[in-house]
């Protein structure tokens, strides 16, 4: 019985290690003003370079683990956001980037805006800011990844409180 757990622990440990170290990312703009989008792109360029964390920008939802959403969901984009989320294979995560994605931001209450990504799909990490700095985005992604670690390690990771990861 015990070495069977050991074997499962090793495999789980390996799986989590791999998931933490190679989070493939896909970006979807649900009606944002492009401010957050260019900051996401800035994290991939030489100065911030998320590739050193293993983050790679993927085109197809099938290849991606983390869905970076920006913008307060417009009615037109609502259905497509839901469909993209369904196309992504499991262990998938959603990161809402920017005040619009977190709560609708300045456009709260407009007639064509749903206000916030969590109105449409469940969200794992919120990164507030208008737009959040590339450092904040990186911090959010890293905290999201470290929240994958088994629960007991969670306590040591500074700054993560409770279930929702807030960068």
């Amino acid at each position: 019985m015990s070495e069977q757990n050991l074997w499962r622990d090793v495999v789980d440990g390996l799986k989590t290690w791999a998931r933490v170290n190679s989070p493939w990312v896909i970006h979807f703009n649900t009606g944002s003003c492009n401010g957050c989008d260019i900051e996401i792109l800035a994290t991939l360029t030489p100065r911030y370079d998320l590739e050193r964390m293993g983050v790679k920008l993927q085109g197809s939802p099938r290849h991606a683990d983390v869905l970076l959403c920006t913008g307060a969901v417009t009615r037109q984009a609502r259905e497509r956001l839901a469909r993209i989320y369904e196309q992504m294979p499991q262990p998938r995560f959603v990161v809402a980037i920017g005040s619009c994605a977190v709560s609708g931001g300045v456009f709260q209450g407009c007639y064509n805006v749903m206000g916030g990504i969590d109105q449409v799909i469940p969200v794992d990490a919120f990164i507030p800011g208008c737009p959040p700095r590339p450092e904040a985005i990186i911090d959010g992604v890293v905290k999201l990844l470290s929240s994958l670690e088994p629960a007991r390690k969670m306590a040591e990771i500074p700054g993560t409180e409770g279930e929702k990861v807030v960068a």
């Binding site: 799986k15 293993g54 085109g59 099938r62 196309q87 499991q90």
Partner: protein
């Protein structure tokens, strides 16, 4: 006794495991150097390994409107094709484990089997992007295949045999890059076409057709396809460097020469814009084949 040694050589040393790990290492080297050339920091050394393990641990989504057997089978055939091609090629400085006269053509056929599988994988699904990716992969396959084969036949003619083993032994003592420079250039660019490196990466143009033929693949299928491509990278590099760069006598020589060749390719990769698919075809059929024939002309009369 020798069954165990052949098993070990087949599975562990110059065979499967070494090839896969070396392929992953070369992929890391490729991504890292490209990043450094774009003065980024680039991925950590274990990145391709982590990517592969993560993909193997992901859920496998089989979309509807797709023939499931083909969907699961194609990546396996692709990886198998690449691995068997490695049997005939002097990987890691060790003489090729099998060889018969005319196995150069078999190696090239097995390598294009991988590209064929990717084309089929793309055509197998209803997703627009994979269909376009499939047509592009196959169009590009037909365009670089002929000049690449001709460029590799140059050394074969000089060495007087079509067996990879004999050609490499011949090539060890005379550096064919000096006597056949044009042939070397066409072979190098042909290899970049075969590996779909940037100037020729129209089949999986990141910004246009999302992920080309493999848009629908996730989890295991994608991981196996990537492994196949990693092995193809190793086999292609050893083939060109053993023919033109004076053979691969021993492991350190093998690593030095293949990395040098990879370095040149990465340099080219970071300099050139992606060619539209019709431009690549024009480039190959107009200039590639012509150059090789000129090379042969010199070889025949010089």
């Amino acid at each position: 006794m020798n069954t165990i040694s052949t098993l070990v050589s087949m599975l562990i040393f110059p065979g499967g495991l070494f090839l896969v790990l070396a392929g992953l290492f070369y992929q890391w080297f490729d991504r890292k150097l490209l990043a450094v050339l774009q003065n980024r920091i680039g991925p950590r050394w274990f990145q391709p390994l982590a990517d592969t393990i993560k993909l193997l641990a992901k859920e496998e989504v089989i979309p509807n409107g797709v023939n499931p057997y083909l969907f699961i089978g194609l990546p396996l055939v692709a990886l198998a094709g690449a691995l068997t091609a490695a049997l005939y090629v002097p990987v890691a400085g060790v003489a090729p484990s099998y060889g018969f006269s005319g196995d150069l053509v078999v190696v090239l056929y097995l390598l294009s089997l991988l590209t064929l599988c990717m084309g089929l994988a793309g055509a197998n699904s209803l997703d627009r992007f994979s269909l376009v990716g499939a047509t592009r992969t196959l169009t590009q396959l037909f365009s670089y295949e002929a000049p690449f084969l001709l460029a590799l036949l140059g050394p074969a003619l000089v060495a007087g045999s079509w067996q990879v083993g004999k050609i490499t032994t011949y090539a060890v003592n005379h550096w064919l890059i000096l006597t056949q420079p044009i042939g070397f250039i066409v072979a190098l660019i042909g290899l970049m076409g075969k590996l779909e490196m940037p100037p020729f990466d129209a089949p999986e143009a990141h910004t246009e057709i999302v992920a080309g033929a493999l848009t629908e693949y996730s989890g295991r299928g994608l991981a196996i396809f990537d492994l196949g491509r990693a092995v193809e990278l190793i086999v292609g590099l050893t083939l060109v460097s053993s023919f033109y760069l004076g053979g691969v006598a021993s492991l350190p020589w093998f690593i030095a020469k293949t990395l040098a060749l990879l370095f040149v390719m990465i340099g080219l990769q970071s300099l050139l814009t992606r060619l539209r698919i019709d431009q690549t075809i024009g480039l190959w059929w107009r200039y590639g084949t012509l150059l090789v024939l000129v090379q042969w002309f010199f070889m025949a009369f010089a």
